[in-house]
Symmetry: C2
Subunit: 359 residues, 2 copies
């Protein structure tokens, strides 16, 4: 299962809004189609969004009729501007765009084909690095699990959300190979049911026993002592270790604290944002209220009621026992641990503070 | 809005599964139709279930061809046996059936019409007492709210759930008349969306500003300091003050403790069960997994995944700041407060321990 890839000069991705009922692949040479796919969650998951963004600006640079480096640059920046406005919270998007932008800025020669080739190389590198990061996150995280355990997870952090085996889900599948997964409990993850639709589907394909619950059932299971460990992903991690992730993550973190259940966050380095000091600085996207009011074609909210539909919430670092990255496992105090990790990372990124990279 | 009533020899109720899209009233002389309505949540809400159960056994006693007191008794007990098996958790059902059973057991004369009349009087009394209990719960509870506040509530505890203005919701509507409701945040309440469908609908009709959220968004709002008070109902309260209520209630109680938000439970005396010592003794109903997997006609869980779908959870007494009843506001220690209240209640009930009243 490859969530997004480059194929014969086009971007190819699976439409995740159609899963698990239909496996629909979209192949496009139009960066706007990729951007709309990110906006509408056909492509979702912070790392996958980063990879898709890189391929989107690359495909824009490959449009017909771009005969000079300046033409390619113009097309690139139009796409960059468009893509950067699709979703505000996942920092991987901005990290990937910043890397792509650096390629354009550092390009010296006059051959537009060389620039295109450099862009494709960089986008492919972003993809490949994420694949490798997923594998390592799985190994580092699984090492935290020393006996057969019942996992609780939220949203989807698997192959669909990344360019590899996932973040939190990579820990689960790696631990499963080591005989340390008794079963997985998947929050359905309202409003868009990524847990019920995507995580359950991926884990079943991996042969792992999965039980879906409504989000508010997690507390009941923890009260009964039936959850051994919680693993979740992240959409952005501030430099103090505060984590923005799918709405409901903070709820789980509070429950984990109450019930003494280890709460682990898994994310590649591209999810860390050195420009945000704390979770308070992370913009939290609000989705259209129809995400909440409509399920399939069925309206489930009384007409006239207001709806508040944040896509993410913020979990303060003190509720997190460990953050698992491809460089190893970070433990509190996170400000120091994160700074040390980023300073030794050869690919350290400096994404734009909170949104639109400018020309 | 009357959720369930006696009309011209029949039981009349509104089918709550059709709300808010359709206001469909069902009128039946068949106790099995009432029982199936309870089982399928067409009639729901612990106090309303109690009233419906009383009318159901009453309508059974009014069937054609019952020519002796013994005939009426036989019909009554058949219905009692059937109704008592519809739902296991809400104790109001068993409390109401016990009161009705006492009428049959104490009936001395040979006139079946007199027995029928006594049964109808008792069922009507149960209804009338609940109406009055709702009013008083609203007054006692509203007295706890001393300034304009943002309420959070869960599931539905209004007119639909009772024979009056509701339990927790009666506190909200009473406080609103006193100018102390800034707005109400309603958990949508998965899996069956009673908050989004029913509470939002009732509050809008009452002219109260209501915002619907997914259940896991409550934590985010509390973190931001946007919730002043939480009010919920109950399906059964043990003699130590532990509360069984709609799944997700315990989650809210943990969040309330973490964020120092007052957490109040509202319930009439008929919801207290002196036969259960603690929440551990309360049977928790599990619903059919289709409650979770299907919304409208849309399947939202990947095929093959297990589903765990408890209807209720258990909130330990130490997380509850006050329990509001028609006799006043109970505060910890609850064992003593509840015992004192029940001992002074002229209608003190002794429902069967946990289920099926026997002949």
């Amino acid at each position: 299962m490859v969530s997004v890839e480059w194929r014969d000069g086009a971007v190819r991705f699976i439409d995740q809004t159609k899963l698990p009922h239909e496996e629909l692949f979209v192949e496009t040479t139009d960066y706007r189609v990729v951007g709309e796919a990110i906006r509408s969650l056909q492509i979702r998951g912070a790392p996958a969004i980063g990879v898709a963004a890189a391929f989107a600006v690359t495909v824009a640079a490959h449009a017909h009729g771009l005969n000079s480096v300046q033409d390619v640059r113009d097309a690139f920046y139009s796409a960059l501007h468009f893509i950067s406005r699709t979703r505000p919270t996942a920092v991987n998007l901005f990290a990937a765009l910043s890397r792509m932008q650096r390629v354009v800025e550092q390009h010296a020669d006059a051959d537009p084909d060389n620039l295109r080739r450099s862009l494709l190389n960089e986008a492919t590198a972003i993809q490949r690095e994420d694949t490798e990061a997923c594998r390592r996150i799985g190994e580092y995280g699984a090492a935290l699990i020393t006996s057969p355990s019942t996992f609780l997870t939220h949203c989807n952090t698997g192959a669909l959300a990344t360019a590899g085996s996932g973040t939190a889900q990579s820990i689960i599948t790696t631990a499963a190979r080591q005989g340390n997964v008794r079963r997985v409990v998947a929050d359905e993850t309202r409003p868009l049911f990524q847990g019920a639709r995507l995580t359950a589907w991926e884990l079943l394909r991996a042969g792992i026993d999965v039980t879906v619950i409504t989000d508010s059932t997690a507390a009941f299971l923890m009260q009964k002592g039936e959850i051994d460990v919680i693993v979740v992903g992240a959409d952005r991690i501030a430099s103090n270790g505060d984590v923005a992730n799918k709405i409901g993550t903070y709820n789980l973190a509070v429950l984990a604290e109450k019930h003494n259940v280890p709460f682990y966050v898994a994310a590649p380095i591209s999810t860390f944002d050195p420009h945000t000091q704390s979770g308070r600085d992370i913009p939290i996207e609000e989705r259209n209220e129809r995400d909440v009011t409509l399920v399939g074609g069925t309206r489930i909210v009384a007409e006239g009621a207001r709806v508040f539909a944040p896509a993410f919430d913020m979990t303060p670092n003190e509720l997190i026992q460990a953050i698992v990255t491809e460089k190893g496992v970070l433990k509190p105090p996170y400000t120091e641990a994160i700074a040390a990790m980023l300073s030794t990372d050869k690919n350290e990124l400096a994404p734009q503070p909170q949104g639109v990279p400018t020309r």
